[in-house]
């Protein structure tokens, strides 16, 4: 499974030609088994927000540029749009549960798992490397854990989120951009020492 997924990502060159993890100041992990749902609904619709929260088991982030973590990760993308990241094997069930809960509201839910790749960028120089291609101020004072933004990274549209103080950041990018973005990351992170790997998250 992970091998075939790697081929679809077009990321094998990076997985093979990496420095040893011990020397790397930037660690880039391609998370192979994530599912993604795009949710559109009016956040002014209190009942719909409440029902969604109930199904998710965690709050739908209503504040701009924030995400919530729990069983899933939910990223605020706009006043009526969210990206829900979950385990690939849980996506189908979540789709059916959410669809049922949202059937009576003006809402749209789409499984976009096939179109996205999640990269986990961590290590002591992670923020420095990301800042080379991003116009946001990525200092932890401005962009701390729990914050996210759909923005540009090296001219690719990404959802960027600060996960913890390690620091760990998640970069979610369109699958067709993942090869390009990994090449860019490999180049940007080379002076810092970079290690690529493929992981599965539960």
């Amino acid at each position: 499974m992970s091998e075939s997924t790697a081929r679809r990502h077009g990321l094998e060159p990076f997985l093979a030609s990496a420095e040893s993890a011990a020397q790397a100041r930037v660690e880039i992990r391609v998370v192979s088994n994530r599912g993604f749902l795009n949710l559109r609904l009016d956040q002014g619709d209190g009942a719909a927000v409440k029902d969604t929260t109930q199904v998710l088991g965690q709050p739908l982030p209503l504040a701009s540029n924030t995400c919530t973590a729990g069983d899933h990760r939910v990223y605020w993308l706009g006043p009526d749009e969210w990206l829900i990241e979950t385990g690939a094997d849980r996506a189908a069930r979540l789709v059916s549960e959410l669809s049922e809960a949202l059937a009576r509201y003006h809402a749209a839910l789409n499984d976009v798992s096939g179109g996205h790749v999640a990269l986990c960028v961590s290590g002591i120089d992670a923020r420095t490397v990301l800042a080379k291609g991003c116009t946001l101020d990525l200092h932890p004072r401005e962009f701390g854990p729990g914050q996210c933004a759909r923005t540009g990274l090296a001219k690719a549209v990404v959802v960027l989120a600060a996960i913890d103080d390690a620091p760990t950041c998640t970069v979610i990018v369109g699958r067709s951009f993942s090869d390009y973005l990994c090449r860019w990351l490999a180049h940007a992170a080379r002076p810092h020492g970079v290690h690529f790997s493929m992981v599965r998250e539960t």
């Binding site: 504040a63 116009t135 946001l136 923005t151």
Partner: protein, 132 residues
């Protein structure tokens, strides 16, 4: 919960490298995240058939192009993907304010009521069809 956008800043280049545009929903973001949508407040005439060719061409092509204060549309392409309006000085590039189009933008099928409102607010040259 504080829903005010965080004060994000662009990288410091030591000079005014690009516009910092405040998206009403996402807060200040770099110009590269946005697409320009031209002059704000252009309203499609409710009855195009009633116009002369000159009037229709004026609606389609002619813009105020002022030197100074300009109301213009921007789309946050790389962010929330929403349209909004910005007041920018075309001489200094200073942005006075950003605002949503809610309540002022003509909604599909609402006729000319909201359209008149938008045109009346416009500080640009006279528009066709504002009386609708």
């Amino acid at each position: 919960m504080n829903t005010a956008p965080r004060r994000w800043r662009t990288s410091a280049h030591g000079f005014n490298a690009m516009l910092l545009i405040e998206c009403p929903w996402c807060g200040p973001r770099a110009e590269t995240e946005f697409s320009y949508g031209g002059e704000a407040g252009i309203v499609r005439p409710p009855d195009p058939d009633a116009l002369s060719d000159a009037e229709w061409a004026d609606y389609l092509f002619n813009r105020a192009n002022p030197r100074g204060a300009h109301r213009e549309l921007w789309n946050h392409t790389h962010g929330c993907r929403r349209w909004f309006a910005v007041e920018r000085d075309t001489v200094t590039n200073q942005i006075q304010r950003s605002y949503t189009l809610d309540g002022t933008a003509p909604e599909p099928g609402t006729g000319s009521g909201t359209a008149s409102k938008l045109t009346a607010e416009s500080d640009t040259t006279s528009r066709i069809g504002s009386g609708g």
